[in-house]
Symmetry: C2
Subunit: 208 residues, 2 copies
């Protein structure tokens, strides 16, 4: 496959038809989120896959007035961790040890590195976890395009209201970015056939 043909096909869909994205394609997109790399492998984020119509309607009314939230069939909410706990670090080390069949004690140096994130302030930690969530979000955008599923990446929403709706604060999470998944309404989306606007490579990139 030509990756850039696929990336050129995708666009931030403005109008969706309401057609439902099949479960096998949702599974592929979710799997790409799981496979996304994160700093030190810590995956300090959580993904909410919201299919429930009533909940998407509530989100549309209260947190995000973009119609794709309800015109799509699934809403992905990427939430980043706001805190790091000892239990979380221990669980992760056990996961590494189990997956690679090595003694957990052999990971003490690595554990020290991960645990050192506890020295960050809450804001610094969240800035870092939010960036990790953006990697997962980006992988989901590419996976959706590969599967010919349309997607609208959304930063324009109220995170505090979203956090309230999903009860994220109690879980040590904050919502950072969304994707509405569905199918483009080619007849009614003015942007469906608009040329993509991008800075020329000569302006965006410096080769040394």
């Amino acid at each position: 496959m030509e990756i850039n043909e696929i990336l050129n096909w995708r666009y931030a869909t403005k109008k969706m038809t309401g057609a439902k994205v099949p479960q096998n394609k949702i599974d592929i997109i979710v799997k790409s989120v799981q496979l996304a790399p994160t700093s030190v492998g810590f995956q300090a984020f959580h993904l909410y896959v919201i299919e429930d119509e009533a909940l998407r309607q509530t989100i549309f009314e209260k947190s995000c007035q973009q119609t794709q939230v309800v015109e799509g069939s699934h809403l992905l909410v990427f939430a980043a961790r706001t805190e790091i706990t000892d239990a979380e670090v221990d669980n992760y080390m056990n996961l590494v040890a189990t997956t690679r069949n090595i003694p957990v004690e052999s990971l003490n140096g690595y554990k020290g590195m991960v645990a050192s994130f506890k020295q960050k302030t809450e804001q610094e930690y969240f800035d870092w976890t939010a960036r990790q969530a953006y990697i997962a979000f980006s992988f989901a955008l590419v996976a959706a395009a590969v599967e010919n599923v349309d997607a609208t990446p959304i930063e324009g929403f109220s995170p505090p209201v979203m956090d309230e709706i999903l009860g994220l604060k109690e879980k040590g999470l904050k919502s950072v970015v969304l994707i509405a998944l569905g199918y483009r309404d080619e007849a009614n989306d003015k942007l469906a056939h608009a040329p993509k606007v991008r800075k020329p490579i000569s302006e965006l990139v410096t080769v040394i």
Copy 2:
């Protein structure tokens, strides 16, 4: 193609052979960076593609002690904008108008939205542009994997030293994340055949 087979093939390569990534593959990866979506389409980042060996050696010695910087053939440095200027907003509006063949005056509402980012503090603006740079960085990681090019995503470096080496401050940029591109040294990289460590989907994802 099976996107998740490709994402499973990639890993944060620890040891590279020194073999050179061909220019046509670099071009594909750079193109994916150009095609990466950004909030309001503003692309407030810059990509440095560093092939020069002496410069990579300097970066290795002074900013990033990871051997892939010199064992790979190319280093990508993603830098995010620290400020927003009127000229930048005007240039962008002209780019949209020219690309879509519409009068620039028809974009006044859109322009107001983009210009409203000037109300952000410098820290808020950089937090936002850094996230956009992470989208481009993520797209480059996927494009490299599709092209069977190995990549090491790197957060562990000194951004102030990198900024000094590349003269980024004068350009209103700060380095945020790197990718070393090259080819895995299968015989000597212990992680080349290690199973990928990922949280189970049941823990990472909630379906509603």
